[in-house]
Amino acid sequence: MGEVKLFFGPNHPGMHGNFSVHMYVEGDTVVKARPLPGFLHRGFEKLMERRLWYQNLALIPRICVPEPDINEVVYALAVEKLANVEVPERAQWIRMIVLELARIAVHLMSMAGIGGPLGLYTGPYWGIADRDRILDIFENLSGARIYHMYIVPGGVRKDMTPKVQEMIVKFLDYLEGRLPEFENLIFKNRIVQTRLRGIALLDRETALEMGVTGIGLRATGVPYDIRKVDPYLYYDKVDFEVPTATEGDAFSRVYLKFREIPQSIKIIRQCLERMPEGKVNVPISEGNALRFRVPKGSVYVHVEASRGEYGYYVVSDGGEKPYRIVVRGASYPQTLYGIEKYLPGTRIEDVPIWLDTMGVCAPEVDR
């Protein structure tokens, strides 16, 4: 039987976003695969050079659609590092709460996402419904559901009210009650066990060679988490664990996401407890707060996103606009090099599972 060229995506129910893979298949085994990004290229890096530092706040959350808050925090941390600004303590704790809530939201959504390629359609409804409760919290906190533009250079936009704190506590209690049900529904399910165990294997050497970070790497047994290794905000002051697995298969990756949710809950509870009263933002420089200048220099700031290392390299020439901003998408290595290197040898039906569990995210690769 000859080779057949198969276009997978961007319009395909099993495809993970606006992304395409050209595969050469023989029977149902992939012989050669070529990633084809570019469907979502919006030129953010160029656009950001042409806007004021503050104007960019409206742009940056759009770079990563499922988890926009990491963009805001990376940008804010970079600007603060360049300008040497001390951020009020309360703002840092609020940022951590927002980041962890966002992490839970993404993990719930990815638990919904895995339902698609498996044909397990209760998962999506449950995951999306519970994620919506987090979006309600964000709406009360910042006024927006998806793109919050809440974390700004110098702090956060406005204070977290007692009402929102109450909502968060209530939601955490609710979610903790829901987690056993999720485990029963998804991880003890026979379809999930047979379709994910031992599928899409990735060993530690390949992962390190490829430059994979985050869940994909931690599923191979190394506890590499930027929150622990290179702490930002107050992650060195809170107590949490980094769950790892040794199998390196699709199941362990999805299960790690699930096991990260209780850790995030633990972090948020500590943040709420230790958050002091006080100011939540400071100006970056004197003068007009919307047209501030950032001193000359260049920094690289990265955080642990739900998919791995997410960073910005920010260069300033001392002007009102950034000179250059480079976005390091968390899934860049596995999306481009990983597909070409890894997919040959897998079966067609495992391709969406690989894309889904490795966290392939087209918007942050295309930018």
């Binding site: 030129g43 490829m210 290794v229 260049s298 990265h302 390299y313 481009l336 090099y337």
Partner: protein, 176 residues
């Protein structure tokens, strides 16, 4: 600077004669190298524990007439970041590939060729990655103006008044 980092930089001192070190903060250091010493420096730093290539990108310093290439290396041992930077000529931008050290660098280099026009010797796969049918300057260069490009590429169309008038009649906004 962490101990781990200063050890690595000391060893680097043996391989590369002269380089400037800028300490950005406790766990972040930027070193400026001459183009010819980048490759030995990178392979030494990789063997010293900085084996994760976080980012490979470029900055266009148009006033100096230079492209700055930036390699950001990260170590999982102490969380240290070393930014290796070098400046190459802007007129005929060419550099050597690092895809034998980090296979993923292939794609970063391909991206740089597309967005800056920097060629990498030893990396043959330079097909466009993100843009389709691009017919202008590499877009991330500072002398490329996206506003002018879009005005040239997508000129304003003039609508005849009659067409709008007719449309309003059809929609029932005005009586014809």
């Amino acid at each position: 600077m962490t101990n781990f980092m200063s050890n690595a930089l000391e060893k680097l001192n043996n391989v590369v004669k002269k380089f400037e070190v800028t300490e950005i903060d406790e766990r972040e250091v930027k070193i400026d190298l001459k183009p010819e010493s980048v490759l030995p420096a990178l392979s030494l730093l990789k063997s010293e524990g900085y084996y994760h290539l976080s980012l490979l990108s470029a900055v266009d310093w148009i006033d100096e007439g230079k492209f700055e290439l930036v390699y950001i290396l990260y170590s999982w041992n102490d969380g240290g970041k070393i930014i290796v930077s070098t400046k190459i000529s802007r007129k005929n931008p060419e550099f050597v590939t690092v895809k034998h050290l980090w296979p993923v660098a292939r794609y970063y280099e391909r991206e740089l060729f597309e967005f800056f026009g920097i060629k990498f010797e030893g990396n043959d796969d330079m097909k466009p990655l993100f843009l389709e049918n691009w017919d202008d300057l590499p877009p991330l260069r500072k002398d490329f103006d996206p506003l002018e490009y879009s005005k040239k590429k997508f000129p304003d169309r003039e609508y005849q008044k009659d067409v709008i008038h007719e449309a309003k009649i059809i929609r029932g906004d005005i009586n014809g």
